[in-house]
């Protein structure tokens, strides 16, 4: 389904949309307060951008260096060209270790690869351990935000889900009680797990180590208790040196939630004694995105979610309306590269206001890329009849000033005199939720001419 259609489903509950909009705007505010306290914030963003751009320009060599160091650290390294291979590799490791129970901390990559259903089909239990992810897992839904996976759910829905699945008492949605119950429930899962899967926020070529950031401590609870730890990363997670973590860890949490840093920033290098560690490095379309000069900077993304929190469309349409693993503005520039037709409406889910680019900690030119995808999509995919026709007519009108003036006169008169039922009739999508302004008597051209004339007279 297209973005507008899915958004209209989300928009049915107006109160919920208002809450969603305000909650995310509040997170954006926290981000602002936090970054304004950092001296040299813009220099920090420049560095983030520069380090990522450099890394992409030498990415193959950094990945080779990372592999050599990781192997020396006693970590097994696997490579997957696509989602299918990624799932097969993980499955094989689980089989080899007779694993039946898996705990997984947040990893957008494993969401992208649809790892859970793949493993569940073989009778393996996969428990998402981030509270928000556990909530959406129980609801059988995908996350709707990269940092706040259950932001589309209210406390009463969580209350009901927990009553049904965890056997909790009705509590009128008390977050304190629900979180405490989730802690107990997941504690048991951590203790029983055969394998822990985590994502990777940053992989360091220089050391062969990788960093995982959480606030809950769930990645560490999983990885330090289970005998096997599998970390899954996209190729673009690589950074050259450990010192570069100083830049990215300063940027990440401040941009995401306004925290100065996540509660836990865990640096894994060697497995603990007696345990095993695997890293799965995944391409799945990333090398192809790297080949597109206009769009390769989208691979700088560190998944902070700031572009979602600030986006007027995302806030009012919800993450599920994007129908892609990564929603919001960044998802809208990543997804067309994967499937131009399926995601053809996403780059249009934007006002091109540029707020996403302004808050991006690694300075991705998100709104310019949205605009560029629009050009490609319009040329390569069938457009709705009304849109096609109206664009053509608009093009002709704008090309001839005399005609533009005539049509303008008619339009202004119509806006003043025709009934609302006609002006807001079906072909005018803009009129669905808003009224058009009253047409002024004078065009801008006339107003400007008059002004110039007056100036001359007054001289």
């Amino acid at each position: 389904m297209s973005h507008p259609n899915l958004a209209s489903i989300f928009n049915k509950d107006e109160k919920r949309v208002d809450w969603h909009d305000k909650a995310l705007w509040f997170v954006r505010h926290k981000r602002d307060r936090s970054v304004h306290n950092v001296k040299g914030w813009e220099s920090l963003r420049e560095l983030g951008h520069g380090i990522k751009a450099h890394t992409l320009s030498n990415i193959d060599n950094y990945l080779i260096q990372f592999e050599v160091n990781a192997l020396n650290n006693g970590v097994q390294v696997h490579w997957a060209a696509n989602a299918e291979e990624h799932n097969q590799i993980v499955h094989k490791i689980l089989k080899k270790n007779n694993a039946k129970k898996v705990v997984k901390s947040k990893s957008m990559l494993t969401e992208e690869c649809h790892l859970n259903p793949y493993l569940e089909a073989d009778g393996i239990e996969v428990i998402d351990t981030d509270l928000g992810e556990r909530i959406v897992q129980l609801a059988k839904e995908p996350p709707s935000h990269v940092v706040l996976p259950a932001i589309h759910k209210d406390r009463h829905q969580v209350d009901e889900l927990f009553q049904e699945h965890l056997g909790t008492e009705p509590c009128d949605g008390d977050p304190q009680y629900l979180t405490a119950e989730a802690r107990k429930h997941l504690r048991e899962k951590f203790i029983q797990a055969d394998v822990a899967i985590t994502g990777v926020n940053f992989a360091v070529a220089e050391t062969g180590g990788f960093v995982v950031c959480t606030n809950e401590g769930n990645a560490d609870m999983g990885a330090h208790l289970a005998p096997v730890h599998i970390a899954c990363m996209g190729v673009e997670k690589i950074i050259p040196k450990q010192e570069h973590l100083g830049v990215f860890l300063r940027l990440l949490a401040r941009s995401a939630t306004g925290q100065p840093i996540t509660t836990y920033s865990s640096h894994f290098k060697k497995p603990r004694k007696g345990a095993k560690m695997h890293i799965v490095i995944v391409d799945n379309g990333r090398s192809e995105q790297l080949s597109r000069p206009d769009f390769r900077a989208s691979l700088h993304c560190i998944r902070c979610g700031a572009c979602m929190n600030t986006c007027p469309i995302y806030r009012r349409s919800g993450g599920h309306s994007y129908d892609y693993t990564i929603p919001g503005p960044i998802g809208s520039i990543l997804s067309p590269g994967k499937d131009l037709k399926k995601y053809s409406t996403l780059p249009f889910a934007s006002t091109l206001c540029g707020s996403c680019s302004d808050v991006c900690p690694v300075k991705i030119d998100i709104h310019s890329q949205l605009y560029k995808w629009r050009q490609i999509i319009t040329k390569n995919t069938p457009q709705p009849f009304i849109k096609k026709k109206s664009m053509k007519v608009m093009g002709q009108i704008f090309a001839k000033p005399s005609q533009f003036e005539k049509i303008g006169k008619v339009a202004r008169w119509s806006l003043r005199n025709l009934p609302k039922s006609f002006i807001n009739s079906k072909p005018n999508a803009w009129g669905k939720a808003r009224d058009l302004p009253k047409g002024p008597k004078q065009s801008f051209d006339d107003w400007h001419k008059q002004r110039e004339d007056n100036k001359l007279k007054n001289k």
Binding site: K39, N58, R183, P260, S266
Partner: protein, 195 residues
């Protein structure tokens, strides 16, 4: 190996011309912070509890007063404080009922209240996560202003097999954005600031 080589070849073919790696000039960010004051302020904002102490006796008595009700304790600093012997822990899961853990750190960061714990001061990795209450002792002289200096310090010491920056107790806001302290990791964090 086929995959590895194909992926690397395609990345190599598709990457842009080499772009220079920028140099990190940490001086750009320097605000001449009062390190202990900033560290204390930020750590309290993220839910930690900072106690300034001048000697080990003060730490011992504060620990005694704070957690006297709780039976299962371990300290890497003071053997007499602990009630368990890590030698008897065959599996990290056996630490499930740990109430209080006391550790020492040698790197703390003023700008974000983060404290570095690594294998060398961490006999079992899961300890600071599985414990209900975590207490960390740090000297004022070991506070650095920003993450850049923390990594300079880490680069100058022997590399750790595992290490973690911890800033506050574990937390979540996944239910309607309401902050709840105590998700999966420690329910509370107390930092003893020495000197």
């Amino acid at each position: 190996m086929a995959n590895r080589d194909t992926i690397l070849a395609s990345l190599k073919a598709n990457k842009p011309k080499l772009i220079d790696l920028p140099f990190i000039d940490a001086a750009v960010f320097d605000e001449q912070l009062d390190l202990a004051a900033e560290f204390t302020k930020i750590l309290e904002v993220v839910g930690g509890n900072v106690v300034a102490v001048s000697n080990d006796d003060e730490i011992a008595s504060h620990l005694q007063n704070s957690f006297s009700e709780l039976p299962i304790k371990y300290s890497t600093i003071d053997e007499s404080y602990g009630s368990i012997d890590l030698e008897t822990i065959a599996n990290p899961k056996d630490l499930e009922n740990l109430d209080v853990l006391v550790l020492e750190s040698t790197i703390a960061v003023a700008e974000n209240g983060a404290i570095w714990l690594a294998d060398k001061n961490l006999p079992i990795r899961v300890l600071p996560f599985i414990t209900k209450h975590l207490a960390i002792i740090i000297s004022k002289k070991d506070i650095v202003p920003y993450m850049h200096q923390a990594y300079t310090k880490l680069n100058n010491t022997e590399s750790d097999d595992y290490g973690v920056f911890i800033s506050g107790p574990s937390k979540t806001a996944d239910i309607e954005q309401s902050l709840v302290i105590g998700a999966h990791g420690a329910l509370s964090l107390t930092v003893y600031l020495k000197g």
